[in-house]
């Protein structure tokens, strides 16, 4: 970490996005996490994704719970709305906010403790209800703030910094999200921004519950030999299913890949994900096969990363509930109180 604020000077030839912002306009306060923390890289990837999508910062709401990961929203998007909730309760606060104002872009940031332990139930229900959000778990497999105990996502047999092996089975949040009906599921690695940034962009554009399990090595307590969440381990066992390029808007698809290796996927807003397959005939539209595939890789000690599952025609919570398109918090008295005549009509219909 550093005590100094990041200097305001920037590169004189920084590119600007459609809103005239540079990527530095998406920054927040200086991070107080440990030097080299994977979470800071994820923050940086989020800023990059929002910059590249030209998202107006004031239309984004970032919500988090408790933990190292949940501190990070302070360190990015300083001009956005934010809510730091009770431990593990981010999903319900986010769901409530989304119900009240469907027009904001919701970004939930959580950790393995916040989502796989204390907030496991909350996580499950927010995914199950198809809340339109991007839910990122910054997964380091360790309780960093309390100095390195195993978390619920630590792999069985993974060693602690002191050399003790974890006796318990891990929770794999990505397959659980698949089972719960998430319509966008991905896994990535904080040390691979080329993969992570397009995934976050696609998740932000996805209309429905988008879940990203992002492995994020804890430099202080979980980056040693024997750990399965260290930089070296993840780099050595990263089985990327695909690589993707995110194309905003209806940009023409230029085929510069061998035929059959690039698969264009069009999203709701017309944006395109160009998927380059890396793992044979892996199909991102087959939920059941995806679960099996990830498990088989995990058995072999490999970590499946990339876009795991996508349902581009998903319906989100508001569509399921049939709410009005006007955000509920913007409805006026006249909309909410139809008047005596309307009440009379309703009452008559019930007689």
């Amino acid at each position: 970490m550093t005590y100094l604020a990041k200097p305001k000077f920037h590169h004189p030839a920084l590119e600007t996005n459609d809103l005239g912002f540079t990527h530095r306009d998406y920054e927040g306060a200086i991070s107080t996490l440990c030097a080299g923390c994977g979470h800071d890289s994820i923050s940086s990837a989020i800023m990059r994704a929002c910059f590249e999508l030209s998202l107006p910062p004031h239309r984004i709401a970032k919500l988090s719970g408790i933990g190292c990961s949940s501190k990070t929203p302070t360190y990015f998007l300083g001009q956005s709305h934010g809510f730091n909730s009770v431990h593990g309760r981010m999903p319900s606060v986010l769901t409530g906010a989304n119900l009240a104002n469907r027009d904001l872009i919701y970004l939930g940031v959580s950790g393995d403790g916040d989502s796989a332990s204390i907030g496991f139930g909350q996580f499950a229900h927010a995914i199950r209800r198809a809340v339109n959000m991007t839910y990122i778990v910054e997964n380091n497999g360790v309780y960093g703030l309390t100095k390195g105990q195993f978390s619920a996502t630590s792999d069985k047999g993974s060693k602690s910094k002191k050399g003790v092996a974890n006796p318990d089975s891990p929770i794999d949040l990505a397959t659980i999200a698949l089972q719960l009906g998430a319509t966008f599921v991905a896994r990535s690695f904080s040390g691979d921004k080329d993969q992570l940034v397009p995934l976050i962009k696609a998740a932000l554009e996805h209309q429905g519950s988008a879940f990203i399990d992002c492995i994020s090595p804890c430099i202080a307590f979980n980056n040693h030999d024997g750990s399965t969440k260290s930089f070296d381990y993840v780099r050595a066992h990263n089985a990327a299913l695909n690589a993707l390029d995110f194309l905003a808007g209806r940009a023409p698809i230029t085929a510069d890949y061998a035929e059959g290796t690039a698969q264009p996927v069009t999203l709701h807003d017309g944006s395109t994900i160009r998927l380059r397959k890396l793992a044979g005939d892996y199909d991102i539209h087959d939920r059941v096969a995806a679960i099996g595939h990830i498990h088989r890789l995990a058995e072999a000690g490999e970590i499946a990363t990339g876009l795991i599952y996508l349902d581009e025609d998903a319906a989100d919570m508001h569509q399921r509930l049939g709410t009005v398109t006007t955000p509920l918090n913007a409805l006026q008295g006249a909309d909410l109180v139809p008047g005596a005549a309307a009440l009379e009509k309703i009452n008559a219909g019930l007689r």
């Binding site: 550093t2 100094l4 200097p7 000077f9 004189p12 030839a13 080299g36 890289s41 904080s190 040390g191």
Partner: protein
């Protein structure tokens, strides 16, 4: 690209843009930090060692360092390096006692220096403390050369020259003022072991136009007129003055005229305002004193009535560029312009002149009248004669003369000791970690967001009254501190250790100026296309690491690095470290000989 070889002293030297640009390679960031710390003596001595005349240069230097300053690339204006140098000279307290004195024993070698300007005095200062008997000749009674004769006193008071020339003299130099050397052969016959020619470029160019002869009484050659003013022979000028020329001499001429009775002074230049040779700040100072600059006016004729100058005729031109980019001035076709005037000062350039060096003295000259010299040793075709300053390669400025003097002194020392003069001693360098704690450095790495501070000056009403009143007041210690804090400490180098890096990206994410990239290696032109932020100055180096674990390399564009140390503070493994690079040029002497 091959991994950057940081053991080559020129690599990190180039990152310190100001020091690299300084002909004498003054360690600028180091002395600026001393000023910020209030150690004016230390700051002065660092300067004195490198450039001999900190007080003089702090007022008059042509400042090649400032356009090079990195601050100018990330903000609007560079650090006021030159005027900070003056601060060191103004507020120093106890340097006199530390200055070298004449040695007890001489080494038996005799060196003659011709001219007592900055080049000769530098040679004298470098050689005299080593035991050489140095004799300096000058036509003027007091030493200083053009620093004393041509720079107006309102820019550079005599007291400053006296002090700094005094430090040179007290090393035991034998100064023979008022003795102009008029025969090289005669001087050589006196049996000196080596002769250094630092006689400057003493001849001002004239303009041979109609009316020049008839109106000669009111037409003056700029540099001659300036020295006449300096020595008090000229104390007045007409009310309406035209100054021809666009260099710094022209600026001194017009500002001097304003102080000697010229109420209507105009500078007229052939070229465009932007192409003028004068430093931008000197043009600004002139205009601030109410002197207009007319550009694209080519002088055609002096007008005179009854043997008296009454005006000048100019042709109006514009600049045309041919397909090769060469500029020609072509007439606009507008009617000629006549400007009334009482006096004209011609400041259109200087020339070298060596009428006192006999053609058969053994010293060869090229077709431009400049001596044929070895480019690094400044040795002439006569092995015991060396040149430096304006006398060597034509008119430049004080700091170049000092740099030449240092090099010539090394050559003379080598020559007198029987060492090959083409063997040049390498500079002394050191690279020391600045880490004091987890996020604590031995230098102040917080970036001050301030814009450049202005140097306080006297109000025009007072300044223009007396030609000997110094117009600039200099920074006071408070302003000096604030300005010193603008320095980015470019000598605090970002040093990268490949084996320690775990490629966590923390440095890439934190870097405020997006200098750092982890990517696949490639040719330089290709790599420059793939950096995190575009490479906009190809002359600025890319620092390339060895191949990392993932097969990639770290590439850092040195261009706009703030040296804020954020990368090193964020680095979990210490792969980045901030290390102070100190480079000191070798000067003549035993230590230097042993290094060569």
């Amino acid at each position: 690209m091959t991994p950057t070889d940081t053991s080559d002293p020129s690599y990190f030297h180039k990152v310190v843009d100001c020091q690299w640009a300084c002909p004498a390679h003054t360690p600028v960031p180091e002395y600026i930090r001393r000023i910020a710390a209030g150690d004016y003596d230390g700051a002065y001595l660092i300067n004195w060692k490198s450039n001999v005349f900190p007080g003089i240069l702090g007022r008059t230097c042509d400042r090649p360092c400032e356009p090079a300053c990195r601050r100018g690339r990330v903000e609007e204006e560079p650090v006021a390096i030159c005027r900070l140098k003056r601060v060191a000279a103004d507020y120093k307290n106890g340097v006199a006692a530390l200055m070298p004195r004449a040695p007890d024993q001489r080494n038996g070698k005799r060196v003659a220096c011709i001219g007592a300007g900055p080049a000769s005095l530098t040679v004298a200062r470098d050689l005299s403390p080593l035991g050489y008997e140095v004799v300096v000749f000058d036509g003027d009674a007091r030493a200083g050369g053009m620093m004393r004769s041509q720079i107006p006193k309102f820019r550079l008071p005599d007291s400053v020259i006296d002090e700094e020339v005094g430090y040179v003299m007290q090393t035991g130099v034998d100064f023979r003022g008022g003795r102009r050397v008029d025969s090289m052969r005669a001087l050589l016959a006196e049996g000196y072991d080596a002769v250094f020619v630092g006689a400057g470029a003493p001849r001002g160019r004239d303009l041979d136009l109609p009316g020049r002869k008839e109106a000669a009484a009111n037409i003056h050659i700029g540099i001659d007129w300036l020295s006449s003013v300096s020595f008090g022979h000229t104390t007045s000028i007409g009310k309406r003055v035209l100054v021809l020329g666009g260099g710094n001499t022209a600026m001194d001429c017009c500002r001097s005229s304003r102080r000697l009775g010229g109420s209507d002074v105009t500078v007229v230049v052939r070229s465009g305002f932007e192409e003028m040779k004068a430093s931008p700040w000197e043009k600004e100072d002139a205009m601030h004193e109410g002197i207009p600059i007319l550009n694209f006016h080519v002088p055609k004729e002096f007008l005179h009535e009854n043997g008296r100058l009454v005006g000048m005729v100019f042709e109006k031109v514009r600049a045309d560029h041919d397909e090769k980019g060469r500029r020609t001035l072509v007439s606009t076709g507008e009617p000629d312009v006549t400007l009334d005037c009482d006096d004209v000062l011609i400041a259109v350039g200087q020339e070298n002149a060596f009428p006192w060096i006999e053609p058969d003295a053994g010293i060869a000259f090229d077709r431009w009248g400049l001596p044929v010299l070895d480019k690094t040793s400044f040795q002439s075709t006569l092995p015991n004669v060396f040149f430096g300053g304006d006398a060597a390669f034509g008119p430049k400025n004080i700091i170049w003369a000092v740099a030449h003097g240092h090099e010539a002194a090394i050559s003379i020392d080598s020559y007198c000791q029987g060492v090959d003069v083409t063997k040049r001693p390498p500079p002394m360098t050191s690279l020391i970690s600045q880490k004091m704690g987890i996020h604590e450095w031995a230098y102040d790495n917080a970036i001050a967001p301030d814009l450049r501070f202005k140097v306080p000056t006297l109000a025009n009403e007072i300044a223009l009254k007396d030609i000997r009143t110094e117009v600039e007041l200099g920074f006071d210690p408070k302003l000096a501190f604030a300005e010193a804090q603008r320095c980015l400490n470019c000598d605090a180098q970002t040093v990268f250790s490949t084996p320690l890096c775990i490629e966590c990206d923390a440095c890439v994410d934190i870097c405020p100026t997006d200098c750092i990239t982890f990517t696949a290696n490639g040719e330089e032109s290709d790599l420059r296309q793939r950096l995190t932020a575009p490479s906009i100055h190809p002359d600025q180096a890319i620092y390339v690491s060895d191949t990392l674990k993932t097969g990639r390399i770290m590439a850092k564009d040195e261009d706009v690095c703030l040296h804020c140390g954020m990368c090193a503070e964020r680095c979990p493994t210490g792969a980045w470290d901030m290390q102070k690079f100190y480079l000191e040029m070798s000067h003549a002497g035993q230590a230097c000989r042993s290094r060569a």
